[in-house]
Symmetry: C2
Subunit: 216 residues, 2 copies
C-alpha cells in the first residue's frame, strides 16, 4: 500500500514536524485559522513553501480563508502516523536510554509509549525509570513479538549497535531510532533515523569558528 503515489521528498518530510509544532502552539493559543502568509512569517520560511509542502498530501486549505488550525494539526498528525499506536522499546538503559525514557513529552504530546528498556547490565535490570522496567536483553525477542513492537530506540555503544540492529529487525522492528555513532545497514523496508550527537556538535563548532556576517 502507498505504493502508487509519487513519493514525497525527505526535505518535505523533515519539515512536517515543525509545522506540527507551530500549529500546536497556535491551537494552544486558541487561534482557529491561519494563512500560509501569516504562518510563513512566524516560521521564517516562504508561504510558497508551506503551500507546496502541504499540497503533497492534499488540499487542506480554503481559498480566501486559509487553513483551519485544528484541522491542519490533526491532518499533519495523521500524516506523521501519530494517530496510530506507537509503542516503542529502548535498547540500552544507560544514561541516554534513561534520559529518553524520562522525557515525558514523547508520550504526553505525541502519544509514543515506552513499553520497556533493555540492558545486559545486572545492576540496571529490574530497576524502573518513570514506571518503565529495565528488562534483561534476553527477554527482548519474546517481548517484541508479544507486544508487536515496531519502534526501537538504540542507545548502545557503537560496537554493539550493528549486531543488535540486525537482530531487532529479525524480530520484527521496522524503525530504529539510532543514537549510536555508526551507520546501520539494514533491509530497505526498515527505517533508520539517526541522531548523531557528536556530528551535530561538530557542525556547531564549525559554525562558531566560521560564522559570516551574513548569517541566514
Amino acid at each position: 500500500m502507498g505504493n502508487s503515489e509519487k513519493s514525497i521528498s525527505s526535505a518535505v518530510i523533515k519539515r512536517l514536524p515543525r509545522y506540527f509544532r507551530y500549529l500546536g502552539v497556535l491551537k494552544a493559543n486558541n487561534i482557529t485559522r491561519i494563512s500560509s502568509k501569516e504562518l510563513s512569517e512566524q516560521m521564517m520560511v516562504t508561504a510558497s513553501q508551506i503551500r507546496q509542502d502541504l499540497n503533497n498530501f492534499g488540499g487542506f486549505g480554503q481559498q480566501g480563508y486559509g487553513y483551519n488550525v485544528d484541522n491542519l494539526y490533526t491532518e499533519i498528525g495523521k500524516i506523521l502516523g501519530l494517530d496510530k499506536r506507537n509503542d516503542m522499546i529502548i535498547v540500552g538503559a544507560g544514561n541516554l536510554g534513561q534520559a529518553l525514557a524520562n522525557y515525558q513529552s514523547f508520550n504526553e504530546d505525541y502519544g509514543y509509549k515506552v513499553m520497556a528498556l533493555f540492558d545486559v547490565n545486572p545492576k540496571l535490570i529490574g530497576i524502573s525509570v518513570r514506571g518503565v522496567k529495565v528488562l534483561d536483553i534476553d527477554e527482548m525477542e519474546s517481548f517484541i513479538k508479544a507486544h508487536d513492537i515496531k519502534i526501537a530506540a538504540l542507545t548502545l555503544p557503537k560496537d554493539q549497535a550493528p549486531e543488535m540492529a540486525k537482530r531487532l529487525v529479525e524480530w520484527g522492528i521496522k524503525g530504529i531510532w539510532n543514537f549510536a555513532p555508526i551507520d546501520l545497514h539494514l533491509p530497505e523496508d526498515v527505517t533508520v533515523e539517526n541522531v548523531h550527537l557528536a556530528e551535530s556538535l561538530m557542525t556547531l563548532t564549525y559554525n562558531i569558528h566560521n560564522r559570516e556576517e551574513s548569517g541566514d
Copy 2:
C-alpha cells in the same frame, strides 16, 4: 576574518563530521591512503560529491594517489575547529543534561570539555556527574566570563529556554546546542544547532508507516 571567501553551503558542512568519522575508522585500521572512489563505496555516496566537498576547503588529494588518510583526518578536524579549545557548559542538569555530561566520547574522541553543569534545583546543585560539578545557575555569568566559555548545551524545558538563551548570549556564548523543542531567535553572530528529538522521532514514524519498496 573568513569574510572574503565564498561561504560554504550547509549541506557540505553537515557532511564533514561523517567524513571525519569514516576517516577515523580508516586511521584506526592503519589504512594510510584512500581514493574518493573507495571512500564513496564505503560511505555510499558518489566519489564526485566527496571531491567537490573537499575542494571547498583545498586540494587535499594527489592525482594518481588519492588522499592521505592521516592528513585528511587532521585537515577536516581543523576545518571543524577541533584543534581549538572547545570548552562547554551544560545548562540544565536534568536527565538529558546529565546524559550529555556522561558521554565521554565528546571529550575522548573530539576534545570537547564539559566545564560545568548548571541548574536551579537545590537537589542537583553540588552533585558531580563524572567529575563535573553541578553549579547554581546564579553562578553561571561569572563562570562563563572567567573561563571564556563559548559553547553551551541548552537542556532546559522549552518555556525557560528562550530567556536563558538570550542571557547566555549576553554573557558571551557564541554557540548554543539547543535541545529544547522551540526555535531560538538570536543575533546572527550566534550559532544555534538544534537537536529536536521529538521531530526526529516523528520523521521516523512517518517513514515506518509510508515506506516505499524503492527506499534509498
